[in-house]
Symmetry: C2
Subunit: 274 residues, 2 copies
């Protein structure tokens, strides 16, 4: 099973309990060698100070969550989205993140045009890449589960993400989150297609049965039905040697627990269920 020196704490896992400063201290206290902050947590400290604290703590930064949200209802809104994404690239650079994770966005207000939203995503990423490439920050498309196609991300499979990488070229890769892709019958093939170059992040949690909420009822590894070791074996066979980043949205369970306990359980489960 996965070794603890591969573990990374995505701050979403304890977002209800801890500030970013507390997450950094928590990682150090529990011997977790890496962190992946969300931008709302980063804003608490500012990227510069956050970067300094993270470096002083000796942590790797396996990603910054998140850029994206490209589709807009009116063309006049596009520049603001690109500007915000550029700031996200700057922040990723400031904190030494290994990639900027993109949650690409869904259907803009009232639209039923998913093909159009996907075109906006492609165009938005193409524009952002011009800014991100010189900075050296890779962009990682995170395909989200199809149940988020309307409101969070209209890139819903690894195949779509790979197609975008084929089209848009260098500087673009994929963040594989088992929660979003475990059901995909083409998963193994598309992970192989992505290869070491494109596989920029690997996120873990679990799919609970029943799942009581579309967004915030994700499970701790081992509590659900995803064969996480199998998917990890696939990404590693494809050449991925990065972190296993734990990202759990869980209003009713993990966001209510003592965060030190959450980190301990994360570590135990990483060794037996990842």
């Amino acid at each position: 099973m996965a070794s603890l020196d591969r573990l990374s704490l995505n701050t979403a896992t304890v977002r209800a309990q801890w500030s970013l400063a507390e997450c950094i201290e928590g990682c150090v206290r529990h011997g977790i060698p890496a962190i992946a902050p969300w931008r709302d947590k980063l804003a608490e400290l500012g990227a510069e100070r956050a970067g300094r604290l993270i470096r002083d703590a000796g942590l790797r930064v396996t990603g910054l969550c998140r850029g994206g949200m490209f589709p807009v209802a009116e063309p006049s809104g596009r520049q603001a989205v690109i500007d915000d994404n550029r700031r996200a690239v700057d922040e990723a650079l400031e904190i030494g993140a290994e990639c900027l994770v993109l949650v690409v966005g869904g259907l803009p207000g009232g639209s039923k045009d998913i093909a159009g939203a996907r075109e906006q995503v492609r165009d938005g990423i193409a524009t952002l890449l011009e800014y991100a490439r010189p900075s050296g920050i890779p962009l990682a498309i995170e395909p989200l589960h199809p149940m988020y196609a309307a409101d969070r991300a209209c890139i819903n499979t690894m195949a779509q993400a790979n197609d975008l990488c084929d089209e848009l070229g260098a500087g673009l890769g994929i963040a594989v989150d088992v929660y979003h892709v475990w059901w995909d019958p083409d998963l193994e093939r598309e992970i192989r297609r992505a290869g070491a170059q494109r596989l920029l992040a690997f996120h873990v949690c679990d799919w609970l049965v029943p799942t009581r909420d579309l967004l915030t009822d994700r499970g701790m590894m081992g509590d659900g039905v995803i064969d996480i070791p199998l998917i990890r074996a696939w990404v590693e066979a494809a050449g991925y040697s990065g972190a296993c980043e734990v990202e759990i949205f869980s209003t009713e369970t993990w966001w209510k627990r003592d965060p030190d306990e959450v980190l301990e359980i994360m570590k135990q489960r990483t060794e037996v269920a990842v």
Copy 2:
């Protein structure tokens, strides 16, 4: 938009309010020319009596919901599943259904082996086809949304359903439900691939934003984000000329309304949003 003479009432839409006998009377009263019962409603009357009532009412039967649920935890459970599916074929014959809809089943108790579940589904359908083919009842695989992969159906895309049809041959087709497939970037291509021969049913409802429950928060056509006329155009371009069957699971809205109002609104929406 869709004509009312194409409309079919799936009994799930008013399942909280009406018995099957009331559904049949409701269709007649509202000039809805077709019905698709679920087996729990059928059991109220028995298939023979239900068939007689439906024929006397002059209704088409666009499908019987549902067979399937093939994966089992223990091999000893397989025969019971096949036996129950054979009874479903018999019932479909008895009521003159145009197809038996298959919700194929998910991961059997505690399993994380989705590839294995998919093999069980293939084997189960192959076995059932030997019984269904001589009866003349086509089996319609309904690919379910990936959010049901664990607990309801591990066939989650049109491509998977088409692959199974390729492999298993005559007597097998597909029920396309817009709720389950609208997000699929390969949808148009896979509908074309299915063609008139395989397209056995077309189910409509809508995807609400936000969706508050994974199973029972489906919307009336026009209330969500699915471009239903576009998908209908694709199935018709592929040669489908059957019904538009309205199937809405909705604990909080449509299952609480006066069912005569639900049928009236269904008719209005069929003319403007299907």
